[in-house]
């Protein structure tokens, strides 16, 4: 054997990361959850297609809503709902992305290689996230073009909202992966969806002037600003007056949560004992 063994080069963490992230992407793609995420993206697109094709007027509490107002609201409402739906889908795929190799034991042979747990974890996160963002991003791009072509919505806010979606998906995926190490998938998914809803309700209610106290206020003030950042990104569609300093702080908080959630995931995996 040794006489035929060819020369090899040393392994670099960045190369190991690329190899493992590609494997994680393919692994997610081949799984049933990969199909589920693609289905979610398709469903979201059909929803946008149907809604942007609607004609006529809206009636709210027996009164016809001003057509101009309902037309302006369509973009952010549709895009916002679709983004949140796809965020939940990214949580779905992430809830399986690390828990499965841990549960079936296949993680052991990867970690028996000269690969750090940090590299392995970030590669799994990136691979599953790439699938979620590919499917979700595709649906959002198509939604943006439908809104633009049929209703005249500008594309720029959709681009900003797409970037916020990607950052939010990174946060949701990392937190879902972390939770999946300690809880069954169904529980993980339920908690993730509930948590997204709570955060978004708190964010939106706060933007419309509501005030809270206790843990709900803390969630709004210090939690990941999934709803706030998304609404700020789409502000170009509704002419929402914004304070540039406030926008910068919200986006900074979103980025900080990306780092924090990834760090929490890495820390959890580093502490994990593979028995």
């Amino acid at each position: 054997m040794s006489e035929t063994a060819p020369a090899k080069r040393g392994i670099r963490p960045i190369r190991a990361f690329h190899l493992l992230a590609a494997e994680a992407f393919q692994d997610s793609l081949r799984s049933r959850l990969g199909l589920a995420v693609a289905g979610c993206a398709l469903l979201a697109l059909v929803f946008v297609d149907r809604c942007t094709s609607l004609e006529g007027s809206f009636v709210l509490n027996g009164e016809v809503v001003d057509p101009g107002m309902s037309a302006r609201a369509m973009g952010p409402i549709l895009f916002g709902w679709v983004s949140l739906f796809l965020l939940a889908a990214s949580g779905l795929v992430a809830s399986d992305g690390l828990a499965r190799p841990v549960a079936d034991g296949s993680i052991a042979l990867w970690l028996a290689r000269p690969v750090s747990r940090t590299v392995y974890t970030l590669a799994r996160l990136s691979g599953t996230l790439a699938l979620a963002i590919s499917a979700g991003g595709g649906a959002l791009v198509a939604a943006a073009f439908l809104l633009h072509a049929r209703r005249g919505f500008a594309l720029e806010p959709a681009l900003f909202a797409g970037l916020v979606y990607a950052a939010s998906a990174a946060i949701v995926s990392a937190l879902a992966m972390t939770l999946s190490l300690y809880a069954p998938r169904v529980v993980t998914l339920f908690v993730v969806i509930l948590w997204i809803l709570l955060v978004v309700v708190a964010n939106v209610a706060h933007l419309f002037g509501a005030s809270f106290s206790g843990w709900f206020a803390a969630l709004e003030r210090w939690g990941p600003p999934l709803g706030t950042a998304l609404l700020y990104a789409m502000s170009g569609w509704v002419s929402l007056p914004l304070d540039a300093h406030d926008v910068a702080l919200v986006m900074l908080r979103l980025v900080a949560w990306m780092g924090l959630s990834a760090a929490l995931l890495v820390l959890s995996v580093r502490r994990l004992e593979l028995r």
Partner: protein
């Protein structure tokens, strides 16, 4: 130079003590059989060396590095007791990724993969998905990935588990070939005859402690088989045998 070292290592799982102040030093180039009843701590010892679990007390080193350092696993091959792979990958895809992770790429990677596929008798099944393989074939895949790059250190946990007689013979040949090339082997096994054939040192663990260790010739009494010695040592309790009283665990496999 020491390949594997456990220095006064204890490992507790909850209230259960899997290893109790174990000292073990395996010099480079030796082939050590790790023996003991179920629950004696053999697999725990291997998992400590791979960094899968952390010691409750004591220190672990692989070629002088802590297992938390990925460089401690450079040039190390591992065959687990129950090989588990991503089930949707084909054998070739799996080997390609493992080869990539130890630094092979391009033609060198293809060459190395082909060599290991031929060696382990998997060449004609390289395109099959790992998820559909039998236990014996999975064990062959485990050997194929462990032997990639002709690693200097091999950790084998029940390497013949699930193999048919031909597979056992093949596995023995792979292990003996590695030994002849001067590789360091740590083989955990219940199959004492295989250990007797493939290893030159043995360490017998009992209830988390080293009951006996040393070169085969020193552990066995005159005319005694390894099985007889094993029964004598395990039934007699740690350190009960005069044969083993003089064997320091820290000298162990040295």
């Amino acid at each position: 130079m020491i390949a594997f070292e456990l220095a006064s290592v204890s490992k507790l799982y909850g209230g259960r003590r899997a290893l109790d102040r174990v000292n073990l030093a395996v010099p480079i180039g030796t082939a050590v059989g790790l023996l003991g009843p179920n629950g004696a701590g053999k697999t725990t010892a291997l998992r400590l060396l791979l960094g899968f679990v952390r010691p409750s007390t004591g220190g672990v080193r692989v070629r002088g590095r802590p297992p938390s350092d990925p460089r401690s696993r450079e040039g190390l091959g591992y065959v687990p007791e129950r090989p588990a792979f991503a089930p949707r990958m084909t054998i070739r895809e799996l080997l390609r990724l493992h080869g990539g992770l130890i630094g092979f790429d391009g033609d060198a990677l293809e060459h190395e993969m082909d060599a290991r596929l031929v060696e382990t008798g998997l060449r004609d099944r390289a395109q099959e998905r790992v998820g559909g393989l039998s236990k014996g074939l999975l064990q062959r895949v485990a050997f194929a990935q462990a032997l990639l790059g002709d690693p200097e250190l091999l950790l084998l946990d029940e390497p013949t588990s699930g193999l048919d007689p031909l597979g056992v013979r093949d596995a023995r040949d792979w292990i003996l070939a590695a030994r002849e090339r001067g590789r360091t082997l740590l083989v955990s096994s219940h199959v004492l005859t295989e250990v007797e054939r493939t290893c030159d040192h043995v360490v017998i663990l009992h209830e988390g402690r080293i009951a006996a260790s040393g070169p085969l010739g020193e552990v066995l009494l005159a005319g005694e088989s390894l099985e007889d010695a094993y029964v004598r040592i395990v039934r007699g309790g740690a350190g009960a045998s005069p044969q083993n009283a003089g064997i320091s665990a820290s000298e162990g496999a040295a």
